[in-house]
Symmetry: C2
Subunit: 199 residues, 2 copies
């Protein structure tokens, strides 16, 4: 391997642990950082140190927060009585990109899994049920991944929420926008057919 000084090799090794970067692209990224050490590397190091120090979990919803509550929980405009349940923060961000949901979130932190001994207590399910009353939630929208684990978790939560007398819905399944039938899996096509609607 190429040998820069130990400090730089150490930095490359750390960068290579980021998703989407390998040893080679980490090397290229570090070289770019070194070339722009004034405009980019120093500010990036500072921003990273600051976030590493201040970032925490929102105690209410599990989103990432830098103050006591996260930005969404603190925004009074988002107290719509609708609660969207997602597996993790990446899913919350994906929902926010859509800009279609104006309510608040609840981040589970994973899915139920008998194999990995993840029960409701390991996820943020008890606090979800607590929030139903605390925030006078009218509707819980399940936005879990369309995987076996996601759907198992969705069924469990749906039962619990219905028992509390709150409406439960979930994201529609069907043909994605711009999707070509020829490239879709059979499961999606049959789900879309079952959920067909008047044109």
């Amino acid at each position: 391997m190429a040998r820069a000084s130990d400090e730089i090799e150490g930095l490359i090794a750390l960068m290579a642990r980021l998703p989407g970067l390998g040893p080679r692209s980490a090397r290229r990224a570090v070289l770019h950082l070194i070339r722009k050490r004034g405009q980019l590397m120093a500010p990036l190091a500072q921003a990273m140190a600051h976030v590493a120090e201040t970032v925490r979990e929102c105690p209410r919803c599990g989103n990432i927060a830098t103050r006591t509550l996260c930005d969404i929980c603190e925004d009074p405009k988002r107290a719509t009585g609708e609660l969207c349940v997602v597996e993790d923060v990446a899913d919350l961000w994906a929902m926010e990109r859509g800009q279609a949901f104006k309510g608040r979130y609840h981040v589970l932190g994973g899915t139920l899994s008998a194999l990995d001994a993840v029960g409701p207590e390991e996820l943020r399910i008890p606090t979800l049920l607590q929030r139903l009353a605390d925030e006078s939630v009218r509707e819980v929208i399940l936005a879990l991944n369309a995987t076996v684990e996601g759907q198992t978790t969705a069924h469990y939560i749906a039962e619990e929420v219905e028992r509390a007398g709150v409406a439960v819905t979930s994201l529609a399944q069907g043909v994605p926008i711009g999707g070509e039938l020829d490239y879709l899996d059979d499961g999606t096509i049959s789900a879309a057919l079952r959920a067909r609607k008047a044109f």
Copy 2:
């Protein structure tokens, strides 16, 4: 766009300026960093700040250094009288990966370009000629890119070095190891044919 808090959005924006990361993968990388803020994010911020502060150009060869001279210039075993001229540090690292060259380097910092008004003074060519005498160099090996600019620069340097009475060589051109003729460009094939050797 998804909105995390301003600090996190700022960090994502900085990360997205790294080569190989776009806005989306930067977001994913930052999320990964936040999840591993103890083991990865804090050490990475620290390593980055340290390198940003200590890294400089080796005054002798132009390589990246964290002490006065770079590791290669400081290594007495590499004073072999052979000097390898490269365009930039990435090329030096590429040469080092090959582990075939045991001498020292000279990083030009670019190529001659009439259009961009880059003359020999803007590159590290005067210091190269100075080193020929200072370090009793016997051979200069040109490892410039096989582009028009690289080769123009190579010709210029070759003339100057020969005038100083030092031997000049350059990397061989030909079929890359593992290369398939069918996928090679015509220029490479004719260069390989002209430089053919006894089997």
